[in-house]
Protein backbone atom coordinates (compact mmCIF):
# COMPACT_ATOMS: atom_id res chain seq x y z
CA UNK A 1 0.00 0.00 0.00
CA UNK A 2 2.87 2.32 0.98
CA UNK A 3 4.71 1.51 -2.28
CA UNK A 4 1.56 2.38 -4.23
CA UNK A 5 1.19 5.75 -2.54
CA UNK A 6 4.89 6.54 -3.13
CA UNK A 7 4.51 5.67 -6.79
CA UNK A 8 1.45 7.96 -7.03
CA UNK A 9 3.45 10.80 -5.48
CA UNK A 10 6.34 10.15 -7.89
CA UNK A 11 3.96 10.15 -10.88
CA UNK A 12 2.46 13.43 -9.75
CA UNK A 13 5.90 14.96 -9.16
CA UNK A 14 7.18 13.97 -12.60
CA UNK A 15 4.02 15.26 -14.27
CA UNK A 16 4.41 18.63 -12.53
CA UNK A 17 8.11 18.64 -13.42
CA UNK A 18 7.27 17.95 -17.11
CA UNK A 19 4.88 20.90 -17.09
CA UNK A 20 7.50 23.17 -15.50
CA UNK A 21 10.15 22.07 -18.04
CA UNK A 22 7.82 22.71 -20.99
CA UNK A 23 6.76 26.12 -19.58
CA UNK A 24 10.42 27.10 -19.01
CA UNK A 25 11.42 26.03 -22.50
CA UNK A 26 8.45 27.90 -23.93
CA UNK A 27 9.40 31.05 -21.98
CA UNK A 28 13.01 30.89 -23.16
CA UNK A 29 12.03 30.29 -26.76
CA UNK A 30 9.48 33.13 -26.77
CA UNK A 31 12.08 35.45 -25.18
CA UNK A 32 14.61 34.43 -27.86
CA UNK A 33 12.05 34.83 -30.68
CA UNK A 34 10.67 38.15 -29.33
CA UNK A 35 7.74 37.95 -31.74
CA UNK A 36 4.01 38.54 -31.23
CA UNK A 37 3.53 35.24 -33.04
CA UNK A 38 5.30 33.28 -30.31
CA UNK A 39 3.80 34.76 -27.13
CA UNK A 40 5.24 34.16 -23.69
CA UNK A 41 3.29 32.17 -21.05
CA UNK A 42 2.64 35.56 -19.39
CA UNK A 43 0.98 36.93 -22.53
CA UNK A 44 -1.07 33.73 -22.85
CA UNK A 45 -2.19 34.04 -19.23
CA UNK A 46 -3.13 37.70 -19.84
CA UNK A 47 -5.17 36.65 -22.89
CA UNK A 48 -6.85 33.92 -20.81
CA UNK A 49 -7.79 36.40 -18.06
CA UNK A 50 -9.06 38.84 -20.70
CA UNK A 51 -11.22 36.16 -22.34
CA UNK A 52 -12.66 35.12 -18.98
CA UNK A 53 -13.32 38.60 -17.61
CA UNK A 54 -14.09 40.70 -20.70
CA UNK A 55 -14.90 38.05 -23.27
CA UNK A 56 -13.65 37.90 -26.84
CA UNK A 57 -13.75 40.62 -29.48
CA UNK A 58 -17.55 40.35 -29.55
CA UNK A 59 -17.91 40.16 -25.79
CA UNK A 60 -18.59 36.41 -25.69
CA UNK A 61 -16.96 34.91 -22.57
CA UNK A 62 -14.66 31.90 -22.61
CA UNK A 63 -17.19 30.03 -20.45
CA UNK A 64 -19.87 30.40 -23.14
CA UNK A 65 -17.46 29.16 -25.82
CA UNK A 66 -16.65 26.09 -23.72
CA UNK A 67 -20.29 25.43 -22.84
CA UNK A 68 -21.49 25.56 -26.45
CA UNK A 69 -18.70 23.30 -27.68
CA UNK A 70 -19.37 20.82 -24.86
CA UNK A 71 -23.10 20.70 -25.64
CA UNK A 72 -22.36 20.07 -29.33
CA UNK A 73 -19.80 17.40 -28.48
CA UNK A 74 -22.05 15.59 -26.04
CA UNK A 75 -24.95 15.61 -28.49
CA UNK A 76 -22.83 14.12 -31.27
CA UNK A 77 -21.05 11.74 -28.93
CA UNK A 78 -24.28 10.52 -27.31
CA UNK A 79 -25.80 9.89 -30.75
CA UNK A 80 -22.65 7.96 -31.73
CA UNK A 81 -22.94 5.77 -28.59
CA UNK A 82 -26.69 5.21 -28.98
CA UNK A 83 -26.20 4.04 -32.56
CA UNK A 84 -22.69 2.61 -32.54
CA UNK A 85 -22.96 0.26 -29.55
CA UNK A 86 -26.20 -1.61 -30.46
CA UNK A 87 -25.19 -1.76 -34.12
CA UNK A 88 -21.72 -3.06 -33.24
CA UNK A 89 -23.23 -5.65 -30.89
CA UNK A 90 -25.81 -6.76 -33.46
CA UNK A 91 -23.23 -7.07 -36.23
CA UNK A 92 -20.79 -8.83 -33.93
CA UNK A 93 -23.40 -11.35 -32.85
CA UNK A 94 -24.71 -11.88 -36.36
CA UNK A 95 -21.57 -11.51 -38.53
CA UNK A 96 -23.61 -12.15 -41.67
CA UNK A 97 -25.28 -8.80 -41.07
CA UNK A 98 -21.89 -7.08 -41.18
CA UNK A 99 -20.55 -9.14 -44.09
CA UNK A 100 -23.60 -8.36 -46.18
CA UNK A 101 -23.45 -4.61 -45.53
CA UNK A 102 -19.71 -3.97 -45.35
CA UNK A 103 -19.66 -2.59 -48.91
CA UNK A 104 -21.71 0.30 -47.52
CA UNK A 105 -20.22 0.64 -44.04
CA UNK A 106 -16.52 0.41 -44.79
CA UNK A 107 -16.29 3.09 -47.51
CA UNK A 108 -18.28 5.50 -45.30
CA UNK A 109 -15.81 4.88 -42.49
CA UNK A 110 -12.98 6.26 -44.62
CA UNK A 111 -14.74 9.49 -45.57
CA UNK A 112 -13.42 12.13 -43.14
CA UNK A 113 -16.04 14.30 -41.36
CA UNK A 114 -14.59 17.40 -43.03
CA UNK A 115 -15.56 16.02 -46.45
CA UNK A 116 -19.20 15.98 -45.35
CA UNK A 117 -19.21 19.73 -44.61
CA UNK A 118 -20.60 20.93 -47.98
CA UNK A 119 -23.49 18.43 -47.73
CA UNK A 120 -24.08 19.31 -44.08
CA UNK A 121 -24.37 23.01 -44.99
CA UNK A 122 -27.04 22.35 -47.60
CA UNK A 123 -29.01 19.59 -45.87
CA UNK A 124 -28.82 20.43 -42.17
CA UNK A 125 -29.53 23.46 -40.05
CA UNK A 126 -27.76 24.98 -37.03
CA UNK A 127 -27.15 22.66 -34.09
CA UNK A 128 -27.92 19.44 -36.01
CA UNK A 129 -25.03 20.25 -38.36
CA UNK A 130 -22.49 20.28 -35.53
CA UNK A 131 -23.96 17.18 -33.90
CA UNK A 132 -23.90 15.33 -37.23
CA UNK A 133 -20.22 16.04 -37.93
CA UNK A 134 -19.19 15.09 -34.40
CA UNK A 135 -21.35 11.98 -34.59
CA UNK A 136 -19.57 10.99 -37.81
CA UNK A 137 -16.19 11.31 -36.13
CA UNK A 138 -17.14 9.44 -32.96
CA UNK A 139 -19.41 6.75 -34.43
CA UNK A 140 -16.91 4.52 -36.21
CA UNK A 141 -14.38 4.05 -33.37
CA UNK A 142 -17.26 3.06 -31.06
CA UNK A 143 -18.95 0.85 -33.63
CA UNK A 144 -15.79 -0.94 -34.79
CA UNK A 145 -14.48 -1.53 -31.24
CA UNK A 146 -17.84 -2.98 -30.19
CA UNK A 147 -18.02 -5.15 -33.30
CA UNK A 148 -14.50 -6.54 -32.85
CA UNK A 149 -14.86 -7.08 -29.12
CA UNK A 150 -17.87 -9.40 -29.67
CA UNK A 151 -15.79 -11.63 -31.91
CA UNK A 152 -13.10 -11.78 -29.21
CA UNK A 153 -15.39 -13.02 -26.40
CA UNK A 154 -13.70 -15.98 -24.72
CA UNK A 155 -15.23 -19.16 -26.27
CA UNK A 156 -14.55 -21.08 -23.04
CA UNK A 157 -17.04 -18.89 -21.19
CA UNK A 158 -19.63 -19.32 -23.94
CA UNK A 159 -19.12 -23.07 -24.17
CA UNK A 160 -19.41 -23.59 -20.40
CA UNK A 161 -22.89 -22.06 -20.26
CA UNK A 162 -23.82 -23.80 -23.52
CA UNK A 163 -23.01 -27.16 -21.89
CA UNK A 164 -25.52 -26.29 -19.17
CA UNK A 165 -28.12 -25.63 -21.85
CA UNK A 166 -28.27 -21.84 -21.56
CA UNK A 167 -30.31 -20.14 -24.31
CA UNK A 168 -28.73 -17.58 -26.69
CA UNK A 169 -30.39 -14.65 -24.93
CA UNK A 170 -28.77 -15.75 -21.63
CA UNK A 171 -25.34 -16.03 -23.30
CA UNK A 172 -25.71 -12.51 -24.71
CA UNK A 173 -26.86 -10.99 -21.40
CA UNK A 174 -24.54 -12.83 -19.04
CA UNK A 175 -21.41 -13.56 -21.12
CA UNK A 176 -21.14 -11.38 -24.23
CA UNK A 177 -22.26 -7.99 -22.89
CA UNK A 178 -20.18 -8.08 -19.67
CA UNK A 179 -17.14 -9.26 -21.67
CA UNK A 180 -17.37 -6.51 -24.27
CA UNK A 181 -18.15 -3.63 -21.90
CA UNK A 182 -14.48 -2.73 -21.19
CA UNK A 183 -13.73 -2.68 -24.93
CA UNK A 184 -16.80 -0.53 -25.57
CA UNK A 185 -15.53 1.88 -22.93
CA UNK A 186 -12.16 2.04 -24.72
CA UNK A 187 -13.95 2.69 -28.02
CA UNK A 188 -15.95 5.45 -26.35
CA UNK A 189 -12.76 7.03 -25.04
CA UNK A 190 -11.23 7.01 -28.54
CA UNK A 191 -14.51 8.33 -29.96
CA UNK A 192 -14.58 11.18 -27.48
CA UNK A 193 -11.05 12.20 -28.48
CA UNK A 194 -12.07 12.26 -32.14
CA UNK A 195 -15.22 14.23 -31.25
CA UNK A 196 -13.00 16.97 -29.82
CA UNK A 197 -10.92 16.90 -32.98
CA UNK A 198 -14.09 17.30 -35.06
CA UNK A 199 -15.37 20.31 -33.14
CA UNK A 200 -12.94 22.74 -34.77
CA UNK A 201 -13.84 21.39 -38.22
CA UNK A 202 -17.56 21.59 -37.40
CA UNK A 203 -17.31 25.11 -36.03
CA UNK A 204 -15.32 26.19 -39.07
CA UNK A 205 -18.52 25.98 -41.14
CA UNK A 206 -19.66 29.20 -39.61
CA UNK A 207 -23.15 30.40 -38.92
CA UNK A 208 -22.34 30.72 -35.22
CA UNK A 209 -19.89 32.95 -33.40
CA UNK A 210 -19.66 30.83 -30.27
CA UNK A 211 -17.66 27.67 -29.60
CA UNK A 212 -13.99 27.02 -28.84
CA UNK A 213 -13.23 26.19 -32.49
CA UNK A 214 -14.85 29.44 -33.59
CA UNK A 215 -12.90 31.35 -30.92
CA UNK A 216 -9.64 30.02 -32.38
CA UNK A 217 -10.70 30.94 -35.91
CA UNK A 218 -11.80 34.43 -34.87
CA UNK A 219 -8.39 35.23 -33.44
CA UNK A 220 -6.64 33.49 -36.34
CA UNK A 221 -8.24 36.13 -38.56
CA UNK A 222 -6.83 38.84 -36.31
CA UNK A 223 -3.42 37.09 -36.12
CA UNK A 224 -3.51 37.08 -32.31
CA UNK A 225 -1.60 34.05 -31.20
CA UNK A 226 -2.13 34.42 -27.43
CA UNK A 227 -5.90 33.95 -27.70
CA UNK A 228 -5.45 31.15 -30.26
CA UNK A 229 -3.18 29.31 -27.82
CA UNK A 230 -5.72 29.83 -25.02
CA UNK A 231 -8.35 28.12 -27.22
CA UNK A 232 -5.97 25.27 -28.02
CA UNK A 233 -5.06 24.79 -24.37
CA UNK A 234 -8.74 24.82 -23.36
CA UNK A 235 -9.44 21.97 -25.80
CA UNK A 236 -6.39 20.06 -24.54
CA UNK A 237 -7.15 20.53 -20.84
CA UNK A 238 -10.86 19.66 -21.13
CA UNK A 239 -10.01 16.61 -23.25
CA UNK A 240 -7.41 15.55 -20.68
CA UNK A 241 -9.85 15.84 -17.76
CA UNK A 242 -12.61 14.04 -19.61
CA UNK A 243 -10.19 11.23 -20.43
CA UNK A 244 -9.06 11.01 -16.79
CA UNK A 245 -12.68 10.85 -15.60
CA UNK A 246 -13.33 8.10 -18.13
CA UNK A 247 -10.33 6.11 -16.88
CA UNK A 248 -11.40 6.46 -13.22
CA UNK A 249 -14.95 5.32 -14.05
CA UNK A 250 -13.58 2.46 -16.16
CA UNK A 251 -11.32 1.31 -13.32
CA UNK A 252 -14.18 1.37 -10.82
CA UNK A 253 -16.86 -0.18 -13.01
CA UNK A 254 -14.67 -2.89 -14.52
CA UNK A 255 -12.71 -3.81 -11.39
CA UNK A 256 -14.25 -7.28 -11.63
CA UNK A 257 -12.62 -7.88 -14.96
CA UNK A 258 -9.19 -8.84 -13.62
CA UNK A 259 -10.74 -10.74 -10.73
CA UNK A 260 -13.04 -12.92 -12.82
CA UNK A 261 -10.77 -13.44 -15.78
CA UNK A 262 -9.57 -16.98 -16.22
CA UNK A 263 -6.96 -16.00 -18.86
Amino acid sequence: MKTGSLETKKTLFYNVLSLVVVATMWTLFSWWQNSPFFPSPGAIWKAFVGLVTRGDIEGIGLGSHILYSMIRIFAGFAAACVLGIPLGLAMGLWPKLYNRTRSVLEPIRFIPPIAWIPMAIVLLVGFSRYAFLIWLGAFFPIFITTLLSVTRVNPVHVNVVKVFGAPRSYIIRKIVIPSVLPDIATGMRVGLGIAWMCIVAAEMIGGEMVGVGRLILKYAELLRMSEIIVGMLVIGVIGFFMNEVFIIVERKVFRWRAEVSID
Binding site: P36, F37, G126, I205, G206, L217, E221, L223
Partner: protein, 321 residues
Protein backbone atom coordinates in the same frame (compact mmCIF):
# COMPACT_ATOMS: atom_id res chain seq x y z
CA UNK B 1 30.45 -1.84 -72.48
CA UNK B 2 29.14 -1.25 -68.96
CA UNK B 3 31.57 1.59 -68.25
CA UNK B 4 30.61 3.24 -71.57
CA UNK B 5 26.95 3.08 -70.62
CA UNK B 6 27.72 4.55 -67.21
CA UNK B 7 29.73 7.39 -68.79
CA UNK B 8 26.89 8.21 -71.20
CA UNK B 9 24.39 8.19 -68.33
CA UNK B 10 26.57 10.60 -66.31
CA UNK B 11 27.03 12.97 -69.27
CA UNK B 12 23.29 12.98 -70.03
CA UNK B 13 22.46 13.58 -66.34
CA UNK B 14 24.90 16.52 -66.17
CA UNK B 15 23.39 17.98 -69.37
CA UNK B 16 19.84 17.70 -67.94
CA UNK B 17 20.98 19.30 -64.69
CA UNK B 18 22.68 22.16 -66.50
CA UNK B 19 19.59 22.75 -68.64
CA UNK B 20 17.27 22.76 -65.61
CA UNK B 21 19.59 25.18 -63.78
CA UNK B 22 19.53 27.41 -66.84
CA UNK B 23 15.71 27.39 -66.90
CA UNK B 24 15.43 28.15 -63.18
CA UNK B 25 18.04 30.90 -63.53
CA UNK B 26 15.92 32.56 -66.19
CA UNK B 27 12.62 32.16 -64.32
CA UNK B 28 12.26 33.85 -60.98
CA UNK B 29 9.74 32.21 -58.67
CA UNK B 30 6.81 34.32 -57.55
CA UNK B 31 4.03 33.32 -55.14
CA UNK B 32 0.85 35.30 -55.65
CA UNK B 33 -2.25 35.08 -53.44
CA UNK B 34 -5.78 36.07 -54.37
CA UNK B 35 -9.28 35.56 -52.97
CA UNK B 36 -11.81 33.01 -54.13
CA UNK B 37 -14.44 34.45 -56.52
CA UNK B 38 -12.94 37.94 -56.12
CA UNK B 39 -12.53 38.60 -59.84
CA UNK B 40 -14.92 41.56 -59.71
CA UNK B 41 -12.88 43.28 -57.04
CA UNK B 42 -9.45 42.49 -58.41
CA UNK B 43 -9.95 42.28 -62.17
CA UNK B 44 -6.30 43.09 -62.85
CA UNK B 45 -5.21 39.96 -60.95
CA UNK B 46 -7.69 37.86 -62.94
CA UNK B 47 -6.31 39.27 -66.20
CA UNK B 48 -2.70 38.76 -65.09
CA UNK B 49 -3.51 35.16 -64.27
CA UNK B 50 -5.61 34.33 -67.32
CA UNK B 51 -3.33 36.08 -69.82
CA UNK B 52 -0.19 34.74 -68.11
CA UNK B 53 1.21 38.27 -68.00
CA UNK B 54 3.59 37.64 -65.11
CA UNK B 55 4.91 34.52 -66.82
CA UNK B 56 5.56 36.68 -69.90
CA UNK B 57 7.72 38.89 -67.68
CA UNK B 58 9.88 35.86 -66.89
CA UNK B 59 8.32 34.72 -63.62
CA UNK B 60 7.41 31.21 -62.62
CA UNK B 61 4.17 31.98 -60.76
CA UNK B 62 2.49 29.88 -58.08
CA UNK B 63 -1.09 31.09 -57.66
CA UNK B 64 -2.62 30.55 -54.22
CA UNK B 65 -6.35 30.93 -53.65
CA UNK B 66 -7.72 31.99 -50.23
CA UNK B 67 -11.19 32.05 -48.71
CA UNK B 68 -10.76 35.56 -47.29
CA UNK B 69 -8.15 38.28 -46.94
CA UNK B 70 -7.24 37.27 -43.39
CA UNK B 71 -6.07 33.84 -44.59
CA UNK B 72 -4.00 35.47 -47.32
CA UNK B 73 -2.43 37.66 -44.63
CA UNK B 74 -1.59 34.62 -42.49
CA UNK B 75 0.34 33.12 -45.42
CA UNK B 76 2.01 36.44 -46.20
CA UNK B 77 3.07 36.71 -42.55
CA UNK B 78 4.62 33.26 -42.65
CA UNK B 79 6.44 34.21 -45.87
CA UNK B 80 4.62 31.72 -48.08
CA UNK B 81 3.14 34.40 -50.35
CA UNK B 82 5.15 37.28 -51.87
CA UNK B 83 2.39 39.41 -53.37
CA UNK B 84 -1.36 39.28 -53.07
CA UNK B 85 -4.67 40.92 -53.65
CA UNK B 86 -7.24 41.20 -50.88
CA UNK B 87 -9.18 43.63 -48.72
CA UNK B 88 -7.38 46.58 -47.15
CA UNK B 89 -8.85 45.77 -43.70
CA UNK B 90 -6.96 42.46 -43.32
CA UNK B 91 -3.82 44.36 -44.38
CA UNK B 92 -4.46 47.02 -41.69
CA UNK B 93 -5.09 44.34 -39.02
CA UNK B 94 -1.90 42.52 -39.99
CA UNK B 95 0.10 45.75 -39.96
CA UNK B 96 -1.40 46.38 -36.52
CA UNK B 97 0.18 43.12 -35.37
CA UNK B 98 3.61 44.43 -36.30
CA UNK B 99 3.97 42.67 -39.67
CA UNK B 100 5.55 44.88 -42.36
CA UNK B 101 2.63 44.49 -44.79
CA UNK B 102 2.33 47.33 -47.31
CA UNK B 103 -0.19 48.34 -49.94
CA UNK B 104 1.33 48.94 -53.38
CA UNK B 105 -1.81 49.95 -55.30
CA UNK B 106 -5.56 49.93 -55.11
CA UNK B 107 -7.81 47.44 -56.89
CA UNK B 108 -11.33 48.75 -56.51
CA UNK B 109 -13.49 51.07 -54.47
CA UNK B 110 -16.82 50.08 -52.88
CA UNK B 111 -18.25 46.81 -54.26
CA UNK B 112 -19.86 45.21 -51.20
CA UNK B 113 -23.60 44.98 -50.53
CA UNK B 114 -25.98 43.86 -47.83
CA UNK B 115 -28.70 41.48 -48.93
CA UNK B 116 -31.60 40.84 -46.55
CA UNK B 117 -34.75 38.75 -46.36
CA UNK B 118 -37.96 40.37 -47.57
CA UNK B 119 -39.16 40.70 -43.96
CA UNK B 120 -36.43 43.28 -43.27
CA UNK B 121 -37.89 46.52 -44.54
CA UNK B 122 -35.39 49.05 -43.20
CA UNK B 123 -31.88 48.99 -41.76
CA UNK B 124 -33.08 49.35 -38.14
CA UNK B 125 -35.07 46.12 -38.59
CA UNK B 126 -31.67 44.40 -38.43
CA UNK B 127 -31.51 45.16 -34.70
CA UNK B 128 -30.84 41.88 -32.89
CA UNK B 129 -30.78 39.98 -36.18
CA UNK B 130 -28.15 37.63 -37.61
CA UNK B 131 -26.03 38.95 -40.44
CA UNK B 132 -23.49 36.80 -42.25
CA UNK B 133 -20.02 38.26 -42.82
CA UNK B 134 -16.86 36.78 -44.39
CA UNK B 135 -15.16 36.83 -41.00
CA UNK B 136 -14.18 39.08 -38.16
CA UNK B 137 -11.08 40.34 -39.97
CA UNK B 138 -12.82 41.40 -43.18
CA UNK B 139 -13.72 44.84 -44.49
CA UNK B 140 -17.35 43.72 -44.71
CA UNK B 141 -17.42 42.80 -41.02
CA UNK B 142 -16.02 46.25 -40.20
CA UNK B 143 -18.82 47.78 -42.29
CA UNK B 144 -21.51 45.93 -40.35
CA UNK B 145 -19.89 47.31 -37.19
CA UNK B 146 -20.05 50.84 -38.60
CA UNK B 147 -23.67 50.32 -39.75
CA UNK B 148 -24.67 49.19 -36.26
CA UNK B 149 -22.83 52.10 -34.63
CA UNK B 150 -24.38 54.61 -37.03
CA UNK B 151 -27.92 53.36 -36.46
CA UNK B 152 -27.45 52.61 -32.74
CA UNK B 153 -28.53 49.01 -33.20
CA UNK B 154 -26.98 45.64 -32.32
CA UNK B 155 -26.31 43.26 -35.17
CA UNK B 156 -25.24 39.67 -34.50
CA UNK B 157 -22.35 38.73 -36.78
CA UNK B 158 -22.18 35.20 -38.18
CA UNK B 159 -18.93 34.34 -39.93
CA UNK B 160 -19.17 32.09 -42.98
CA UNK B 161 -17.80 31.42 -46.46
CA UNK B 162 -19.07 33.97 -48.99
CA UNK B 163 -20.25 31.25 -51.34
CA UNK B 164 -22.34 29.71 -48.52
CA UNK B 165 -24.08 32.96 -47.60
CA UNK B 166 -26.99 32.71 -50.09
CA UNK B 167 -27.71 29.16 -48.81
CA UNK B 168 -27.74 30.30 -45.17
CA UNK B 169 -30.07 33.17 -46.13
CA UNK B 170 -32.41 30.91 -48.06
CA UNK B 171 -32.58 28.45 -45.14
CA UNK B 172 -33.40 31.27 -42.74
CA UNK B 173 -30.29 30.78 -40.60
CA UNK B 174 -29.37 34.42 -41.16
CA UNK B 175 -31.52 37.46 -41.81
CA UNK B 176 -29.05 39.06 -44.14
CA UNK B 177 -25.45 39.01 -45.26
CA UNK B 178 -22.73 41.31 -46.45
CA UNK B 179 -20.29 40.19 -49.07
CA UNK B 180 -18.17 41.34 -51.94
CA UNK B 181 -19.69 41.34 -55.43
CA UNK B 182 -20.98 39.20 -57.13
CA UNK B 183 -22.33 37.06 -54.24
CA UNK B 184 -25.04 39.56 -53.19
CA UNK B 185 -26.16 39.82 -56.83
CA UNK B 186 -26.31 36.02 -57.00
CA UNK B 187 -28.60 35.84 -53.94
CA UNK B 188 -30.84 38.52 -55.46
CA UNK B 189 -30.89 36.64 -58.78
CA UNK B 190 -31.95 33.47 -56.94
CA UNK B 191 -34.68 35.54 -55.23
CA UNK B 192 -33.43 34.72 -51.73
CA UNK B 193 -33.55 38.37 -50.71
CA UNK B 194 -33.03 41.92 -51.87
CA UNK B 195 -30.20 44.42 -51.68
CA UNK B 196 -30.93 46.86 -48.87
CA UNK B 197 -27.62 48.75 -48.91
CA UNK B 198 -24.42 48.92 -50.87
CA UNK B 199 -21.07 49.89 -49.40
CA UNK B 200 -21.47 53.19 -51.29
CA UNK B 201 -24.29 54.03 -48.85
CA UNK B 202 -22.08 53.11 -45.89
CA UNK B 203 -18.85 54.80 -46.92
CA UNK B 204 -18.77 56.43 -50.38
CA UNK B 205 -15.65 55.66 -52.44
CA UNK B 206 -14.14 53.56 -49.66
CA UNK B 207 -11.06 51.57 -50.55
CA UNK B 208 -11.79 47.88 -50.85
CA UNK B 209 -9.26 45.48 -52.37
CA UNK B 210 -5.60 46.33 -52.73
CA UNK B 211 -2.35 44.92 -54.07
CA UNK B 212 -0.16 44.01 -51.11
CA UNK B 213 3.31 42.79 -50.30
CA UNK B 214 5.82 43.16 -47.45
CA UNK B 215 8.45 45.82 -46.96
CA UNK B 216 11.06 43.10 -46.52
CA UNK B 217 10.08 41.61 -49.91
CA UNK B 218 10.38 45.02 -51.60
CA UNK B 219 13.72 45.65 -49.98
CA UNK B 220 15.06 42.23 -50.90
CA UNK B 221 14.03 42.39 -54.55
CA UNK B 222 12.87 45.84 -55.68
CA UNK B 223 13.12 44.88 -59.35
CA UNK B 224 10.57 42.09 -58.94
CA UNK B 225 8.22 44.43 -57.07
CA UNK B 226 8.54 46.98 -59.86
CA UNK B 227 7.78 44.35 -62.51
CA UNK B 228 4.76 43.07 -60.57
CA UNK B 229 3.25 46.56 -60.19
CA UNK B 230 4.00 47.32 -63.86
CA UNK B 231 2.24 44.13 -64.97
CA UNK B 232 -0.61 44.88 -62.58
CA UNK B 233 -1.09 48.32 -64.18
CA UNK B 234 -0.95 46.81 -67.65
CA UNK B 235 -3.60 44.24 -66.69
CA UNK B 236 -5.75 46.93 -65.08
CA UNK B 237 -5.61 49.00 -68.27
CA UNK B 238 -6.45 45.93 -70.34
CA UNK B 239 -9.51 45.32 -68.15
CA UNK B 240 -10.75 48.88 -68.59
CA UNK B 241 -10.22 48.73 -72.36
CA UNK B 242 -11.77 45.29 -72.83
CA UNK B 243 -14.80 45.23 -70.54
CA UNK B 244 -16.85 42.79 -72.63
CA UNK B 245 -14.17 40.14 -72.72
CA UNK B 246 -13.41 40.75 -69.03
CA UNK B 247 -17.06 40.22 -68.06
CA UNK B 248 -17.08 36.92 -69.95
CA UNK B 249 -13.93 35.90 -68.04
CA UNK B 250 -15.51 36.92 -64.72
CA UNK B 251 -18.65 34.92 -65.49
CA UNK B 252 -16.59 31.87 -66.36
CA UNK B 253 -14.44 32.21 -63.23
CA UNK B 254 -17.36 32.69 -60.82
CA UNK B 255 -19.76 30.32 -62.56
CA UNK B 256 -22.39 33.05 -62.72
CA UNK B 257 -24.43 34.42 -65.59
CA UNK B 258 -23.02 37.43 -67.43
CA UNK B 259 -26.14 39.45 -66.53
CA UNK B 260 -25.54 38.75 -62.82
CA UNK B 261 -21.89 39.81 -63.16
CA UNK B 262 -22.93 42.96 -65.02
CA UNK B 263 -25.49 43.74 -62.34
CA UNK B 264 -22.93 43.19 -59.60
CA UNK B 265 -20.39 45.41 -61.36
CA UNK B 266 -22.74 48.36 -60.91
CA UNK B 267 -21.80 48.38 -57.22
CA UNK B 268 -18.03 48.36 -57.87
CA UNK B 269 -15.80 51.29 -58.85
CA UNK B 270 -12.52 50.92 -60.69
CA UNK B 271 -10.56 54.17 -60.26
CA UNK B 272 -7.63 54.58 -62.63
CA UNK B 273 -4.82 55.25 -61.84
CA UNK B 274 -5.36 52.85 -58.96
CA UNK B 275 -4.33 55.08 -56.07
CA UNK B 276 -5.51 54.10 -52.62
CA UNK B 277 -8.24 56.21 -51.01
CA UNK B 278 -6.28 57.06 -47.87
CA UNK B 279 -8.99 59.03 -45.99
CA UNK B 280 -11.17 55.90 -46.11
CA UNK B 281 -8.23 53.77 -44.90
CA UNK B 282 -7.90 56.12 -41.92
CA UNK B 283 -11.63 55.89 -41.12
CA UNK B 284 -11.45 52.09 -41.32
CA UNK B 285 -8.38 52.01 -39.07
CA UNK B 286 -10.20 54.15 -36.49
CA UNK B 287 -13.16 51.74 -36.62
CA UNK B 288 -10.86 48.73 -36.20
CA UNK B 289 -9.22 50.31 -33.16
CA UNK B 290 -12.63 51.20 -31.71
CA UNK B 291 -13.86 47.60 -32.02
CA UNK B 292 -10.63 46.19 -30.60
CA UNK B 293 -9.68 44.38 -33.82
CA UNK B 294 -6.51 46.45 -33.87
CA UNK B 295 -5.08 46.80 -30.38
CA UNK B 296 -5.00 50.44 -29.29
CA UNK B 297 -1.57 50.24 -27.67
CA UNK B 298 -0.04 49.03 -30.93
CA UNK B 299 -1.03 52.24 -32.78
CA UNK B 300 0.64 55.10 -30.95
CA UNK B 301 0.14 57.62 -33.77
CA UNK B 302 -2.79 56.99 -36.11
CA UNK B 303 -1.55 59.26 -38.91
CA UNK B 304 1.90 57.74 -39.14
CA UNK B 305 0.40 54.24 -38.91
CA UNK B 306 -1.93 54.96 -41.85
CA UNK B 307 0.83 56.68 -43.81
CA UNK B 308 3.18 53.76 -43.23
CA UNK B 309 0.86 51.17 -44.73
CA UNK B 310 0.81 52.70 -48.22
CA UNK B 311 3.90 52.67 -50.43
CA UNK B 312 2.84 54.42 -53.66
CA UNK B 313 6.39 55.15 -54.87
CA UNK B 314 6.57 52.34 -57.44
CA UNK B 315 3.09 53.12 -58.74
CA UNK B 316 3.82 56.84 -59.05
CA UNK B 317 7.14 56.24 -60.79
CA UNK B 318 5.49 53.91 -63.31
CA UNK B 319 2.63 56.34 -63.91
CA UNK B 320 5.09 59.13 -64.65
CA UNK B 321 6.69 56.96 -67.32
Amino acid sequence: MRSKLAAITIVVSILILCLSFNVSAQQKELRFGYLVADQLHSPAVMIMKEKKMLEAEGFKVTWNEFLAGSYLMQFMTSGEVDFGSGGCVPAIITRGQGVDVVILAGANAEGSSIVVKDTIKKVTDLNGKNVGTPGIGSIQDAMVDSLARGNKIKIIHKAMKVSDMPIFLQKGEIDGFISWAPHPARAVDLKYGYQILTSHDLMPDHQCCVLVSRESTLKKDPETARKVVKTYLKAYKWFLDNQKESIAMMAAATGMKEEVVLDAMKTVKYPFPPHVNMPSVKVMTEGLIQTGKVEKDRVTDLDSFVKGIYKPEILEELLKQ
